[in-house]
Symmetry: C2
Amino acid sequence: MSELIDHTLRGSWTPSGAAAAPLSAHALRWLRERIGLVEESTPAVPASLLDVPESALGEAVRAELADVVGDQHVLTEVAPRLGRAGGMSYTDLMRRRTGSELAVPDGVVLPADPEQVQRVLDVCVRHDVAVVPFGGGTSVVGGVSALCGGKAAVIALDVTRLDQLVSIDPVSRIAVFQAGVRAPEAEAVLASHGFTLGHFPQSYERATLGGFAATRSAGQASAGYGRFESMVEGVRLATPAGDWRLGAAPASAAGPDLRQLAVGSEGALGVITEVALRVRPAATEHQYEAWVLDGWQAGADAVRALAQAHALADVTRLSDVDETEVQLELAGGIKARALHTMLRGRGVVEPCMLVLGWEAASRAELKQRRAATLQVLRGLRSVRLGRKAGEAWRANRFAGPRQRDALLDLGVCVETLETATRWSAVSDLRSAVRSAVVRAIGVDRKAPIVMCHISHAYETGASLYFTVLAARDSDDPIAQWQRAKAAAGEAIAERGTITHHHAVGADHLPWLSGEIGTIGVDVLAAAKRAIDPTGILNPGKLIPGREPA
Amino acid sequence: MSELIDHTLRGSWTPSGAAAAPLSAHALRWLRERIGLVEESTPAVPASLLDVPESALGEAVRAELADVVGDQHVLTEVAPRLGRAGGMSYTDLMRRRTGSELAVPDGVVLPADPEQVQRVLDVCVRHDVAVVPFGGGTSVVGGVSALCGGKAAVIALDVTRLDQLVSIDPVSRIAVFQAGVRAPEAEAVLASHGFTLGHFPQSYERATLGGFAATRSAGQASAGYGRFESMVEGVRLATPAGDWRLGAAPASAAGPDLRQLAVGSEGALGVITEVALRVRPAATEHQYEAWVLDGWQAGADAVRALAQAHALADVTRLSDVDETEVQLELAGGIKARALHTMLRGRGVVEPCMLVLGWEAASRAELKQRRAATLQVLRGLRSVRLGRKAGEAWRANRFAGPRQRDALLDLGVCVETLETATRWSAVSDLRSAVRSAVVRAIGVDRKAPIVMCHISHAYETGASLYFTVLAARDSDDPIAQWQRAKAAAGEAIAERGTITHHHAVGADHLPWLSGEIGTIGVDVLAAAKRAIDPTGILNPGKLIPGREPA
């Protein structure tokens, strides 16, 4: 954990002992040409130079919290507080690198079990202290910013000591975990029972199961294993109103599905302390390969055909022309040129790479499922690149955050945006976001790269995930991104959901009432008042304009 | 519609022109032996003899409602009011047959579109009139009882004039329907576009799409097509707080999934006026066949193996020994005896019938999917009975309600119960319910038949659906069933959900807070206050003890 705090504090994902994934000379040259790279190094301001306010946590509260969790688990020193001062958005990272506008919690409290979480909340209600639940700290939407919400103080409630497998029911294939278990730890313990969760978002290495549930996470293999909420059989929350357990059966008609209210509640309606999760036999076999479609529309049509035929590979990921180009160039330009020549020879003008990955408990199952996918794909105009490119994607699938660190070091503005919509609106939405971002931050400089992929496909629609690379505006890097975000948000809100798997946090608040209606916002606010009447839980997140100022 | 009202009024499902599905002489003999049949005919009391109170709908309200929907669509005569006096539970039907304890609405209002529904609600808020949304009237949990909730009057808001396809997006495979469209009408219009919904609950012939959504319905082919809530892409509700639309994308992380609050809201949080539904290519091929497993546990294990291998047939329905026996005996005893002899010859002592049905858009697809099912099944000890028995089930799959009418005519107490739980609890739950029902109503008479099937299976668990057949207690038939229901409810609540697809209504209220917690009830009540501050919407349903008395 100390390592986590250390590198979080530095404004980077990469562990302090390791180098950020370095860029090749070719990649650097190419980036400079494409986006007019500024290439100014921006290391973090040393913590000792940051102007961190004194902890506002009073001695009486501190003592009561120590009574609950033990003195050594109430931290008010600067380092652990800085370690929970926000998440992993570009804005969060730049704030840490520049030392400006950091919202630092007044203390960090680390309970050991659900009962302690409940008692910590009880103390915080009595003393009017805001509580920000903190797991892996990987929010990219301001979901773990230490906002005070007008309270006397704010603590980060770090759940990572809730790290136990509670029970496993191999017949029903349900595992109950405490919420602070990190994804790799969950996979390790499940593997020892012959199971897997199959949830592999890019935050995998750090994020916790509770965080996945709180934010409606979707992993890279969601086509095969489902979104995280589809894995949630039950959930337990500590709330100011008491302990709350949901999930009596796999499916129910006992009124609205309140599990789906708890899932996605982002710490504003309770602190998730346990999750009961559907598990599957451990995948012992895998095969990843890459294909190329000619042009975005052909690619999107192919993914749609696979989704509608129920023939998606577990990982199904279509990159547009720009993302395909960036992937090839960042990997090394010579191979990229050879590949382009080969593809042009086969009539492919606008190569869009499609990564397909199957995970299975036996070779026979894998072959069967792969055959179903290829049966659909072969009816379309596609070129198979083979396993090398597919396995290369798999090998690097959690490397994005480290690669981002390298880009941040080089003065690149790099951030992601994501949404989902119906198939009939997918291409229009992609164009609209690209135009909006270019207009917002491409003025007076080289156009940013706005690349896009589909990584989560459904029968009725798909997610769109954008990565933006631009030369950083060194005068006001945060404002630069905020312009892009605002413009993209407007384009998205008109055509789809404001977020497919990153959650609302603080950053998506402006668009929530457009999406769920003012009635929806009123319902969430009413639910919050019922559960958290004094509003201590994660103020300023999830529910627009309903928190005390 | 007049026909619907007429036979609803008679306390039976069977249209007035038709006979209730008659029982054979053999079936009658067998029933008499097994449950000690009373065989007293109980036709409905003629409407003219019922003591129906005058409509309490004041002239001013009536006029305002007529302004909105047209004079001919505000009905205060006895017949249409009696036609909406409750649903289709045994209790409801017996109340109509005996004429006692009937809760009759003060009027029936039939708006033509979502805007009229909204305006009707506005009138009802102003005049403090309770509103019971009414579609097919097939609730078996008291969901459409005309409870007044302390209001000045209560109307049935009949949505069946909202019968239009609003739009269809064949690329995204989404169809938007008005809420009053009945299932067969939806299938007919979808078929003309080459699509199907694939939702075939036993209420299919009468029920409306809005009702499916309001109650989290599950159809007989749910293994293939999913529960109704999984088909809901979007939903529109008229509420006292205004028009509310949800569903911006197939999947979203924009906070809790409020669609899953609207779905299952049972008319207490709004009147569903439109639903956007995922559709699939029309099934042009089907194949149904029956298999036999030896004993309940072997059968349940087989269904579990199919579910966990993702190899379920679209319809997968396992009957326990009792239900298998009843099906055979009611179909004709000679075949049953021949079958038993054959099965004993093959070592099957406790035959449990497994109906498997595949629906597909091509023969090739059907063969492929059937092969996947049989691959799992062949690894188990099972006997194939063949297509005749399977197709016989299919031919009769909506006949249950008519068969129930025949049994009601004969003085049988016949009702169903359903739940769902984890696989590891399925067999214990089945035993517990059987014992509870037998203890509650088997005293001093022959034991009732409590038969059971699994018709909805998931990776982690399954539904259990019980049918109870008992000699009717002619002194107090309703109290007889209420004893059984209460005992079964306790057994269920300890081990699973109080309802898998029948909803809460009024009848399941006693168990809801045990299932979702007092916090869950408070959250629902808070949501209701936000949406429906004066509590006009379907009082006395869904939310325990939160309605004005």
